[in-house]
Every structure is written in C-alpha cells, then in structure tokens.
Amino acid sequence: MIGHALLFAYGCFSLALLFCLYRVVFAPGLSDRVLALDTMAINMIALLTLFGIDKGTTMYFEASLMFAMVGFISTVAYAKFVLRGDIIE
C-alpha cells in the first residue's frame, strides 16, 4: 500500500514540477516566475522526502533543509531585486 501511495505522490510532485516549469517559462512577469521557482523548490523537498521514505534513509534531510533555505533566500532576493534593484542595501 505504502508503495502505491509513494508512487502516487511521486507522480503528483513530478507533474507539479512540470507545471512549475511551464509557469517559469511562460509568465507575464517576473513575480510569477519567482513564485514558480519557489514552488519548485518546495516540490523538490517533497520529492526528496519521498525518496528518503522510499530508500529508508534520513540522509537527505540536510539537503531538504538547504532546499528550503535556498528557496526562501532566492525568492526574497529576486523580489528585492524587482522592488529595489539592490538586494543588500
């Protein structure tokens, strides 16, 4: 059962990634792209966690944490860039 659930989740998040990619490429403005990138990072974390459950290892936790951090920092950086030009004022 867990296997099927995993497979389903894998599929969902993979598809989600493709949706995000679509939005990154075809977007009216930068804010949409940044949003999509951020969402991508989150989906990636989910995939990593799934992978950890699948392989029975907690070794990928740091990577997930890093992804979360990266998503946050780069989103803020892009947004600040749009808003102010200079991200570290």
């Binding site: 659930a5 949706f19 966690t49 944490l65």
Partner: protein
C-alpha cells in the same frame, strides 16, 4: 499497519495538494490569484509528506527523527514572507496605486510610497 495507512493517506494527501498547488499556478487567471495556490497548497502538500516521513521512520525503522518537523516549521515560517514579497513585487510591477484601496486618506502602501521620504531616510552614507 495503522502507521502504514496513516502514512499512505498523508502521502496521497500531500501529493494531491502539491499537485493542486502547482496546477493552480498554471490554471488561475491572474498573478495575484496564482499567488494563493502555492503559498498554501504546496506548503500543506510538502507538510503532509514531511509528517508522513516523521511517522514512517519510527514506525518502520524504529528511529525517531525530528528533522522533518524542523523543515516543516521552517517552511511555515518562511512561506508568508515569500508570499508577501512576491505580492509586493507584483504590485510594484503590475499595479497602479489607484486600483487599490487606500490604507487611509493621504496615506499610501509602503510599496508605492516615496522611497526618499524623510521618515524613511535616516541618513546618507558618510554621515
């Protein structure tokens, strides 16, 4: 067994919300509406998966890890900020102040106010 069911449900739920969040990104008509989908759904989606993992490891491998909780908390802590910033960026790029309600007569939203306004500028470099 119970744990497995719970985990499976959480996984399915997580996958569903993750997908919906990203689908919303594609489907919803305008950028501001699109912002709603991922800030919540994706967060909950990944949250569900993380909780599933949190349950799964002690149940299956007998090791309790709190790492997933940390990640979840981190995401919940930061998601509003990213949403806030993306919204601001979008307002800055795509909205005129006249299309928005005013906070108070004579006042403006921070994004639209004059950056060189006296109250905001503390000092020039070299002071």
């Amino acid at each position: 067994m119970i744990a497995e069911i719970i985990v499976s449900v959480l996984l399915v739920l997580g996958g569903f919300f993750g997908l919906v969040g990203s689908y919303g990104l594609v489907k919803l008509p305008d950028p501001m509406t699109r912002l709603h989908a991922p800030t919540k759904s994706a967060t909950l989606g990944v949250g569900a998966v993380l909780v599933a993992s949190l349950i799964w490891f002690p149940a299956r491998h007998g090791v309790l890890t709190w790492h997933e909780l940390l990640i979840t908390l981190f995401l919940f802590l930061t998601a509003p900020v990213t949403g806030y910033f993306i919204a601001k960026a979008h307002m800055h790029l795509g909205w005129s102040r006249d299309d928005l309600p005013r906070p108070a007569p004579g006042k403006d939203w921070a994004t639209f106010c004059d950056p060189d306004k006296e109250s905001l500028v503390d000092r020039q470099p070299g002071d």
